[in-house]
Subunit: 296 residues, 2 copies
């Protein structure tokens, strides 16, 4: 392992431990009423995942010298939105998945009604965390961050992407249609993670947009490849699920070699977009590589 | 009908039509992608309900001279949160109710997965609407409004109340436990409706809090009475549902006459709390009476 990648992994481990602590403190304690709901919220939001969204947020925040409390709140908010979407996604009326991050998914561990409320309450908590009064010295900027989070999560963002995903089962999509779906389903929140971390650095936001879009899509292409290539144990969720359920994926549309080629091209555009930032963007480059090389 | 009440009803009708228009413009158009999701969101959020929360918000806004755009955004946000909660509440894993506002509930009209996403996206849209950049001349106040909305909706507010409600089925609750549940389940958002409308009028917020708490609880007591006394057609949702499903209600705990007495007492405290505002609080008084006299 090179020094650079060892250095990156140390940074990532440190940030993962840190966001875990931030989430731990943001979630109501397990003994607060209603206890069952809070225990289930903590079960679903703590102790798992690579925290890619938080890492992107922190890397962008470091690049742009964003205030540490603002970066924490933003990273926490995107991870809470992501956690809520996983809980609802796994429910029987959606993907009906029993396994998440190597543990029983929320509705299996508790029940469907609890999972529904856990997702609902995690979404509220994301907006709660980012709307802490006095968080940003510039309140107007905080309002804009909240607006970005809301739009990335809603019907023209993540939830909209999930709706398209649902209606796509069993349909033949073109690559463009698949890309449009993923731009919303996973891309919108990944993009928001980068932009919220970078928020006040307006002058270079176009480059950041390009990086975030490319890396968001690469993330999904790799997801589709892993769905075919990885096993359930490594993945921590049911492998082969998308292919088996007749969902269009980059692999089913392009074939495995072309999907890998596309991922590489997206990685290259992401890296190229960071050129204006020079050396300072090293973490974001390393994160792009990390997303490419992940095996789960 | 007295002049005063005719005047109130004209005002209420005007405000109901107005919030309908605000919601209509805030919801993405039916032809925006993903169309099915947007059509279902509009189905669930438009064209129904008494809009009690919006009316409370507007009445408080008029009393406190809140800017009209701010009042619109706040009224819209609380109605969207309310609409999302109804969609999720009606789902099979929750109350499993086929009827809402006299129409098939969202999951009956569409399907469970769509209803799940409709609720999720309506919640995001509520925060989107209230976080429009530049909405409040004082952005710090807007951040606080968003924080109040988030806290009222989350696990220590509405969603928490629903979790307690779920766990209460078949249990004997004391009146205090029932009240604690309803303070979260319906009370938190009704209180937020009043406070968001009144937001900048800090000096009198204590009185507004008292009014909002009392009227929120009275609303629920009346709900429980109507569940027993009204028929399904008038109610627009399944009558007798709570009593039949072995849920503790004010009527099952106190009996019908005592429940009616409690509603009257809460009404009186709500009215008394408004004394500091004098004549200017007339709409809020009329709204309290409206909530008491409603038959659905």
């Amino acid at each position: 392992m090179s020094n650079a990648s060892s250095n990156f992994l140390t940074w990532a481990k440190n940030r993962q431990a840190h966001i875990e602590q931030v989430l731990e403190q943001t979630l109501p304690p397990a003994d607060a009423t209603p206890q069952k709901l809070h225990i289930a919220m903590r079960y679903s939001a703590l102790g798992g995942g690579k925290r890619i969204r938080a890492l992107l947020c922190y890397a962008a925040a470091e690049l742009c010298d964003t205030n540490a409390n603002v970066a924490d709140a933003a990273a926490c908010a995107v991870e809470l939105i992501h956690a809520y979407s996983l809980v609802h996604d796994d429910m029987p009326c959606m993907d009906d998945d029993d396994l998440r991050r190597g543990k029983p998914s929320c509705h299996k561990q508790y029940d469907d009604a609890t999972a529904l409320l856990v997702g609902d309450a995690l979404q509220s908590l994301a907006f709660d965390a980012l709307s802490t009064p006095g968080l940003c010295s510039n309140a107007a900027q905080q309002v804009s961050m909240l607006n970005l989070l809301a739009k990335s999560s809603g019907s023209l963002g993540m939830a909209g992407g999930q709706a398209i995903d649902l209606s796509a089962v069993g349909k033949a999509l073109t690559q463009n249609e698949l890309e449009a779906m993923h731009r919303l389903k996973t891309g919108a929140l990944i993009q928001a993670s980068v932009l919220l971390g970078a928020y006040h650095a307006d002058e270079k936001l176009v480059a950041m947009h390009t990086y975030a879009q490319a890396i968001g899509l690469a993330f999904q292409v790799i997801d589709d490849i892993l769905d075919v290539e990885a096993d359930t144990l490594t993945l921590g969720k049911t492998a082969g699920k998308d292919a088996n359920s007749n969902k269009p994926t980059y692999v089913t549309i392009l074939g495995l070699p072309q999907a890998k080629q596309l991922a590489k091209e997206l990685y290259t555009s992401a890296i190229n977009a960071l050129a204006p930032y020079g050396e300072k963007a090293q973490r974001l480059r390393e994160l792009a590589a990390f997303i490419m090389q992940r095996n789960s």
